[in-house]
């Protein structure tokens, strides 16, 4: 096995995995708290990417405030989606399938509004003008400043989320809400407020992931739609309900699409174009045979862990 291919793919996999973690945790969080598979989650990523890229390119903001702006854009859009579409639907006791169809509609709307705006502004294919510096080499793999920003951001925010969910009163209430909404309401947990908070967190993380993506590669209005099935894969590996398993799932997807395809290519001659097929195959298998995903690893003996 040639090292010169494996180490770069490992570092690329870690970078992609971290980006997938940032983007997918929110999808899991919103599903757990409101039982909506939010197809428009990809568009939250796109919005964050555009907000950050435009902030850098047009108003010359530095990276950190631009990323905060991206996160804010994602959070705001997520909250709007829930308030305008999902909450009213759930008040009418819409079936999960109706919620899914509505979220697909929401994703189509957002994506093409972004298209219209980007077309008008001439931003159909842009990149945040941020210098990515080469920091050094590990073996044959180049380590860039992007690695040093994205990986700590993903891991740090995951840790923060963990502390929030396990140590704070609000976080514990959120877990209670995810586990049993009726019981949570009966226990005087402020369900509506927690739900808003969950959507804000989810949107902010997606927007932040998008902001980093605008530094990593060119962005276009279909960015989120193209990424959605892959970031949803991380969430599905997390059983759609378990944040910890989603974090693991993000790295499984990132490494599978990079280290996995490199190995498959070297040993079995699998074309590199098939990299996403590894992810999609995992999605189908998990949905079919282990709907609780990797969540079982964290709570042995229990059927499903919520958040």
């Amino acid at each position: 096995m040639p090292w010169e291919e494996l180490t770069p793919s490992l570092f690329q996999g870690i970078l992609m995995g971290s980006l997938f973690v940032l983007m997918a945790v929110g999808l899991t969080l919103t599903y757990a708290v409101s039982r909506v598979i939010n197809f428009a989650h990809g568009e939250l990523v796109t919005l964050g990417a555009y907000a950050a890229a435009l902030a850098v390119n047009l108003s010359g903001l530095s990276l950190l405030p631009a990323l905060v702006l991206g996160a804010a854009a994602g959070a705001l859009a997520a909250l709007t989606l829930d308030e305008l579409i999902y909450k009213p639907l759930m008040a009418r006791r819409a079936s999960p399938l109706y919620l899914l169809v509505a979220s697909i509609g929401a994703s189509i709307i957002l994506r093409h509004l972004i298209y219209l705006a980007a077309d008008a502004g001439g931003w159909l294919n842009i990149k945040a003008r941020v210098m990515v510096d080469l920091v050094g080499f590990v073996g044959y793999a180049a380590v860039t400043s992007l690695h040093l920003q994205v990986v700590p951001a993903a891991l740090g925010l995951s840790l923060l989320l963990h502390l929030f969910l396990t140590r704070s009163r609000t976080g514990k209430a959120m877990r209670a809400l995810a586990e049993n909404p009726d019981l949570a309401r009966a226990s005087a947990i402020p369900v509506a407020r927690l739900r808003r908070l969950a959507w804000l967190i989810a949107g902010a993380m997606a927007g932040l992931g998008g902001g980093f993506w605008a530094v990593y590669a060119n962005i276009q209005p279909a960015l989120g739609a193209l990424l959605f099935l892959r970031l949803a894969a991380a969430s599905i590996l997390g059983g759609l309900t378990n944040v910890y398993a989603t974090i693991l799932g993000g790295y499984v997807v990132g490494l599978g699409e990079n280290v996995g395809i490199t190995l498959a290519n070297a040993w079995a001659g699998v074309p590199l174009e098939f990299r996403t097929l590894i992810t999609f195959a995992m999605v189908v298998l998990v949905l079919l045979f282990r709907p609780s995903g990797l969540g079982d690893l964290f709570t042995p003996g229990r059927s499903r862990r919520w958040i």
Partner: protein, 344 residues
């Protein structure tokens, strides 16, 4: 101003979309099976046509060309012009083959429904469609990979002039769509149709009554997917080109919107929904607006898609039953009672 191309494209696409929407109605509307991989079964028909026609015509014509090359496409068009019966025969062969392949794949892919709930089935079928698209796109030896495959000659290639040829084909597509309508109506009002609704409304109750509900789902998916594959064949022979770009999941959701707009479970409503959506689809093309001399400040393609999303969300929010709610079941006995003048 010659309106023939416009009429041809409108009627042909209406027929193709109608077959797709009716098949979706059979699955989603009547049986409660969210086949979000609809575009996959549609692509199966198109890929089957491209594969079979490209190989067979070269073999029969005795030409050793690369099937997806431009020379081969020209060769096929020429052959179809000089040999009308060959072109028509190949078209019919593709219809039958695609229906069979579609039915087999449809019943096979209904098997996840044995294990998982409707939302998960929807996700699985959506991912399957994406897997197929990525696979076909990356495999050049199948239908030319990323470049696609042209020169799938229209069965009416022998008719000189694009206008009359297009009209003849549009008529054929419309006739097949009418056939599909009769078929789904017959299925819906048969005892099997009532069984489908039972599976949708209360699967457990149907099972308690001894109905093999997974077998019902497999049969519905087989019929629905065969219809979708037939629509794919009609599309391939209309555009005379097949590439993976045409089989984006966006089409699945457009078809789903036709069903929800018209009224899930009501075939007549779905015809209306399809007519409205085809009109929106065809009359908001830049080429059509250019014909009228209209110049819009925004890209109409994006606006059209945004409108599709808005309609989908508004319908689910405010009128999930669509334009025409599902009617009651018609049975022979009920009809007889009605004719006797007794209110049932």
């Amino acid at each position: 101003m010659d309106l023939t191309p416009l009429v041809v494209s409108f009627v042909t696409f209406f027929g193709i979309y109608l077959i797709l929407a009716l098949s979706m109605n059979l699955e989603y509307g009547l049986t409660g099976l969210p086949n979000f991989g609809k575009v996959f079964f549609y692509s199966v028909g198109a890929y089957t046509s491209a594969f079979v026609v490209s190989r067979l015509m070269l073999a029969l014509g005795g030409a050793s060309l690369v099937p997806w090359s431009a020379e081969a496409a020209v060769f096929r068009e020429e052959l179809a012009r000089s040999e009308p019966w060959l072109a028509i025969g190949l078209f019919l062969l593709c219809l039958v083959l695609a229906a069979l392949v579609g039915a087999a794949l449809g019943s096979l892919l209904s098997s996840p429904a044995l294990r998982v709930q409707d939302v998960y089935l929807a996700l699985i079928l959506l991912v399957v469609a994406e897997i197929a698209r990525v696979y076909v796109r990356a495999t050049e030896g199948f239908i030319g990979g990323p470049h696609g495959l042209g020169g799938i000659p229209n069965p009416f290639r022998f008719i000189e002039g694009a206008g009359p040829r297009g009209l003849a084909y549009a008529g054929l597509v419309l006739a097949l769509a009418a056939g599909a309508y009769v078929l789904v109506e017959r299925i819906t009002h048969s005892p099997f149709g009532r069984l489908m609704k039972a599976v949708r409304d209360d699967e457990l109750a149907a099972q308690v009554l001894g109905k093999r509900t997974h077998w019902v789902k497999a049969q519905v998916m087989a019929v629905g997917s065969a219809l979708a594959a037939v629509a794919g064949v009609l599309y391939a022979f209309f555009t005379e080109f097949v590439g993976t770009e045409d089989f984006d999941s966006q089409l699945t959701f457009t078809v789903l919107l036709m069903v929800i707009l018209g009224g899930a479970g009501n075939h007549r409503g779905v015809v209306a929904g399809t007519l409205i959506m085809t009109a929106i689809d065809r009359f908001t093309r830049p080429s059509f607006l250019a014909l009228l001399g209209l110049q819009l400040p925004v890209d109409i393609n994006y606006a059209r898609h945004a409108l599709i999303g808005v309609l989908l969300v508004l319908l689910i929010l405010y009128r999930p039953q669509g334009l025409a709610p599902e009617g009651r079941v018609r049975t022979a006995a009920r009809e007889e009672v009605r004719h006797l003048g007794v209110s049932s």
